[in-house]
């Protein structure tokens, strides 16, 4: 089911949690809502479920205005962060709850319910655990029961609030792959909330990034990573170096070094962002140079801290395998990719010379 969100606002008392969010979700998509805590991502998810009443704006479920429907009528599958399993019901009773509470006219027969529970248990790989109680299950198993319970109502959209938040790192990684695979098989339109960028980038068809109640960018993971739309995203996703610089007469300058031409009219302070892996130590590079101040190992990567000669800014640079460098060494730098931002907006270079070499 397509989900369309228009100018959605939500205010709690005096503080706005969402202001004017527009979002189009296509049927069958797996969307990750990513943002720091307090960015409004959970509020948005709850508004879609009907658990939160928006202060303004609309949500459409395939063309129908969802505000006409109560929570019960929306038929969403909501998986809570702590799963919210009914502790006095066993696994089978939990999963069948949504079928059993239907009005008599549309309620499946006990045999149908039993069969459907069996199918769902099979789907989430928990066959044989029908009569266990939630207290007797591991975190990962509870999560899958919660998922099966949400799928049992044949939801128009599946909503997951921090689906892996309460699990340990190992289980988390396994479940990510598993959930991605489950989505491929069932094809439910799915929206999940997370504050973990790796999770969002790895699982989502598209990632929507929220910051302070507003949608900053939505796009495929590669698009988000390679072309962040705002300085916030550049720093929030992956690692980024931020170097303040100046634009004068349509020329972006880092100290004395000319970076490239931009449209006339953008004058004054601006910010240059680039990732540590996009800065390459290259003795032939003439424009940027610096001095290595420290070397570090971060998991698979080796990093150097470099003080730029041009502005004195400290930046981080990834080193290729086997690179022989030492502290206080002087190096030339080449930037493979970068983003220039003025007034919080991305600015494009007019010439190709910006591939700083």
């Amino acid at each position: 089911m397509d989900i369309t969100i228009r100018r959605l606002q939500k205010t709690f008392g005096a503080s706005p949690a969402l202001h004017g969010v527009d979002l189009d979700i296509r049927s069958g998509e797996l969307i990750g809502l990513l943002g720091p805590s307090g960015s409004g991502k959970t509020t948005l998810l709850r508004a879609i479920a009907g658990l939160e009443r928006p202060s303004a704006g609309q949500i459409f479920f395939g063309g129908q205005n969802a505000s006409m429907f109560s929570v019960q009528e929306r038929r969403v599958g909501f998986v809570f962060q702590n799963y919210a399993l009914f502790r006095h019901m066993n696994v089978a009773e939990n999963i069948s709850y949504g079928m059993r509470v239907r009005p008599r006219a549309t309620r499946p027969s006990p045999q149908q319910i039993k069969q459907r529970v069996g199918e769902l248990l099979d789907l989430v790989q928990l066959t044989g655990l029908e009569v266990r109680f939630p207290g007797q299950l591991s975190g990962g198993q509870r999560q899958r029961v919660a998922l099966a319970r949400a799928l049992a109502v044949d939801p128009r959209v599946l909503l997951l609030d921090e689906p892996f938040g309460a699990l340990d790192a190992r289980v988390r990684k396994d479940l990510r792959v598993w959930l991605r695979d489950l989505h491929k098989r069932t094809g439910h339109t799915t929206i999940f909330v997370t504050h973990d960028q790796d999770e969002a980038l790895e699982m989502s068809d598209r990632v929507a990034i929220l910051n302070r109640g507003a949608l900053e960018q939505i796009g495929a993971p590669d698009e988000i990573y390679n072309a962040p739309a705002t300085p916030f995203i550049f720093q929030f996703i992956g690692d980024a170096n931020r170097v303040p610089l100046n634009i004068a007469n349509g020329q972006a300058r880092l100290g004395a070094a000319k970076l490239g031409r931009v449209s006339i009219g953008l004058e004054g302070a601006a910010e240059l962002f680039f990732r540590p892996e996009d800065a390459v130590i290259d003795e032939a590079a003439g424009l940027l140079s610096g001095e290595i101040t420290a070397l570090r190992r971060q998991g698979a990567k080796r990093r150097a801290d470099v003080r730029l000669d041009q502005t004195g800014a400290m930046i981080e640079v990834d080193l290729p395998y086997g690179a022989i460098v030492y502290p206080s060494q002087r190096v030339g730098l080449r930037l493979e990719r970068m983003g220039l931002f003025a007034n919080g907006r991305r600015v494009s270079f007019l010439d190709e010379a910006h591939r700083v070499a």
Binding site: L51, V71, Q72, G77, A84, F86, V101, R149, A150, V153
Partner: protein
């Protein structure tokens, strides 16, 4: 590696007990003191009640209980409890629901008011009842003109008991429901359950042990209340005398067996309540953990 010289003699272990435990002598004194106090002020009186009740044998005990006035007091007490406990259970659930699930102005005031009966002397509660519904009270004459008697009648006793037992269920449920949060209930709603259905299948089962506990306490108090009932009932023997009032009346008549026979019934109720309560606490520690009256 550097070889550190070992101390000549191993560090002498100073004490053969936990660093935080008391000295054995002190411990024994404290325990002894507690046991003595408990024996003197709890076990002995309780034992006395049963010994006195059976002072003239089982026949005397049964005879005392078969007295018409006593029978009437037992009946009245049961009627009062049967009315008060369900009403206060319903109120307690509603109040706990409101306090735990919603934010509204006056919420803290409501919580304070729920506690009021704990802080007000029951006699004052009874007096308020008389002032409101008595022959010269605010509402009394009006009601009397419709033929409704409140004071010196069952309605007055019920009102006074309701007031005194007001907080028990609510106080038990509020912290429990606040701690549990509303995720389970919201999950039930997203799965299509109606509000009522959600209440019956999720909310109630989640608080059932706390609720039962509150109802038990409420019932014990409803049957045992003396002060407030004494003021409003007029203590008409065989008419508006509840069990606790009957105990006092019989005692004043020097009818020891009768007084203690009725008293033993009340004490038995208290014991059963305690046993069930202990069982619930033992069995459902987690679910009952978060409550404690001030």
């Amino acid at each position: 590696m550097i070889d550190l010289p070992l101390p000549e003699t191993p560090l002498r272990i100073q004490r053969d007990r936990d660093a935080l435990a008391e000295a054995p002598a002190l411990r024994r004194t404290l325990i002894g003191f507690a046991v003595t106090v408990l024996t003197l002020f709890l076990f002995l009186p309780l034992a006395t009640v049963f010994i006195e009740a059976f002072g003239k044998g089982v026949a005397g005990f049964l005879n005392a209980l078969s007295d018409a006035e006593v029978q009437s007091s037992i009946k009245l007490t049961l009627i009062v409890a049967t009315i008060c406990v369900p009403i206060n259970t319903a109120f307690g659930i509603a109040a706990a629901w409101a306090v735990a699930r919603f934010e509204f102005t006056g919420k803290s005031a409501l919580v304070t008011f729920i506690d009021l009966p704990f802080s007000v002397s029951p006699v004052i509660a009874g007096l308020c009842c008389v002032l409101l519904f008595g022959a010269r009270g605010l509402l009394g004459p009006q009601l009397a003109s419709y033929g409704v008697e409140v004071i010196f009648a069952i309605p007055g006793i019920v009102l006074a008991t309701l007031f005194v037992t007001f907080p028990f269920v609510a106080r038990e449920l509020i912290p429990l429901m606040q701690q549990q949060g509303s995720d389970d209930e919201q999950a039930a709603l997203t799965l299509g359950a109606s509000g009522w259905r959600m209440f019956l299948t999720v909310t109630l089962p989640n608080v059932k042990w706390g609720l039962l506990y509150g109802v038990l306490l409420c019932n014990a108090r409803a049957m045992g209340e003396f002060g407030a009932v004494a003021v409003v009932s007029g203590r008409i023997r065989g008419g508006t005398s509840t069990m606790p009032l009957q105990v006092e009346a019989l005692y004043n008549d020097y009818n020891m067996v009768g007084a203690f026979a009725v008293a033993s019934l009340l004490a038995l109720l208290a014991l059963i309540t305690l046993i069930v309560k202990t069982f619930l606490e033992w069995r459902f520690t987690g679910e009952l953990a978060l409550r404690r009256r001030t």
